[in-house]
Structures are given as C-alpha cells and as structure tokens.
Subunit: 150 residues, 2 copies
C-alpha cells in the first residue's frame, strides 16, 4: 500500500523532494489555498461568461488556474494530511489516499482541461472559453464528488 | 481620495468588473490564499536552490507565482477589506489603501520580477534562477515591510 501511495503522489507531483520539509498542517493549508485561488479564478471566468466578456481578465484567470494545477500539488497530500490536525481542518476523504491511481488520473484531467482553457482564452473567443470552462469545471467536480466530504 | 483608490485598484487589477460580486470577507480569504500559494512555491524554489536542483519543479513553481501575481489581485482589496471581518483576519495596514499609486508600483514590480523568474526557470540555469528568485523575493519583502503588519 505504501508503495502505491508513493507512486500516486509522484504522479501528481512534479517532484516531491524539495517539498518534503513542509509540515503536514502547512501542506493542508497550502493545498486549500491553491484550490481556493483556483475557485476565485473560475468564478471570474463564470462572471465574464454571464456578463461583460473581458478577454484579458479571462486569460489571466485561466493562466492562474492552469499554473496552480500544474504546480505539483500532489506533494501537499503527504503522510499525516489525511485528517484534521488541531484546528486545521481538511475535507479530504480517506478514499483519496486509497485510490492514488484514480486521483492521479483526475489530476491529469484537470491539468489537461485547464491548459485547454488557457488555449481557448488566448483566442479571445467566448464560445471556446465557454466549452473549455465547462470541461474544466467538470474535472473539479469529478474529484470533489469522489474525494471531498461535504 | 475615492478616485485615487479606484485608480490604484484598477492599476493592480486586470479588470475589476466581474469581481465586484465577491464579498469583502471572501476577498480577504482569496488574497491570502494567493499569497500563501505563492509562498509555498517560493519555498520550493528556495529548497531547489539549496539542495538538488530540479529544473522542472522550479519552472512549475515560477509559473504559479507569476500567474497568481498577474491574476488581478487588486480586485481583492475592495471596500470593506481594510480590517478584520468577524474571524476573518487581515494583516494589511491602513497605509496600503492610502498609497495606491505606490501599491500599484510594488505590484508591477512583483509582476515584472516573477515574469523574469519564469524566463530564468525556462533556461534551467541555476545561477539565473538564483538571481531572479532574489529579485522576486525582494519585491515581496518591499510590500510586506511597508504594508503588512507583523
């Protein structure tokens, strides 16, 4: 099991070595920060699709989502981060750590979708952004539905 | 004064329109998430400079820092975000909102430095990354020293 988890983490992460020094409670905080900041940027794109479309803002938001998604967040799900640590709460389900191959696939899906979103945003075409935005949101939801508690 | 603040926010932000719906307490949370995630990525680059240098990890980290920096975070310093809101704490000093021209300059400095860091990371040259990393950290510190309470 340990080996499977290690491989899964590796698949999620660009390289785990340098991040090993981050304390488990800080890993939880950093991963929540990353998802939270992605969420703000998804919200901005949604608002642009529903209201006035500012291509430059959409592009900047897409870049942030893709870069965070590609930053090796797997390193933030290290040993000890499976449950709350003091008042640092996590909504991750135990199943996450038992299905690292699936998690790695879902993470790759997010990477792919968010890179497609960057490409769509670069064209400035609203319909293309709408499609890529839906796909990206779908990859977020796929992971939340399986591995995030309510 | 209001006009000066509005101009400063605009300079920091790619476009403020779509973000106007974000509640002040959420603006504080999102901006803290962005800075926190940048901090994690700065830490990874530091660890790479001090230990084994993984060019791919450094590049991914630099991309995240630059994309967050370029995502229009000025929109997260809207009216009502000058002080704590309930248990949502902020360390921003009142001086921040009274010097938006200076804040905008500091934000531009971070943008420039982090884009230079991306360029340095893309070369894979450790010395170039070291220089650009120092410059980027300097722009963080410049703003913290002036506008962040201890």
């Amino acid at each position: 099991m340990k080996k499977i988890i290690a491989l899964g983490i590796l698949a999620l992460s660009v390289a785990g070595t340098a991040s090993a020094q981050v304390k488990p409670e800080d890993q939880i905080k950093y991963r929540q920060a990353g998802y939270s900041f992605m969420s703000w940027n998804m919200g901005k794109i949604k608002a642009n699709l529903e209201g006035e479309f500012n291509a430059q803002q959409v592009q900047a938001a897409a870049n942030a989502i893709a870069a965070i998604s590609g930053s090796g967040m797997g390193a933030l799900f290290g040993p000890g981060t499976e449950k709350d640590i003091g008042n640092v709460r996590t909504r991750v389900k135990p199943e996450f750590f038992q299905n690292m191959d699936d998690v790695a696939k879902l993470a790759t899906d997010l990477n792919t979708a968010s890179n497609n979103l960057v490409a769509a945003a670069a064209t400035g075409d609203k319909a293309a952004v709408q499609k890529a935005f839906g796909d990206t949101g779908g990859t977020c939801k796929a992971c939340h539905d399986k591995y995030r508690a309510d």
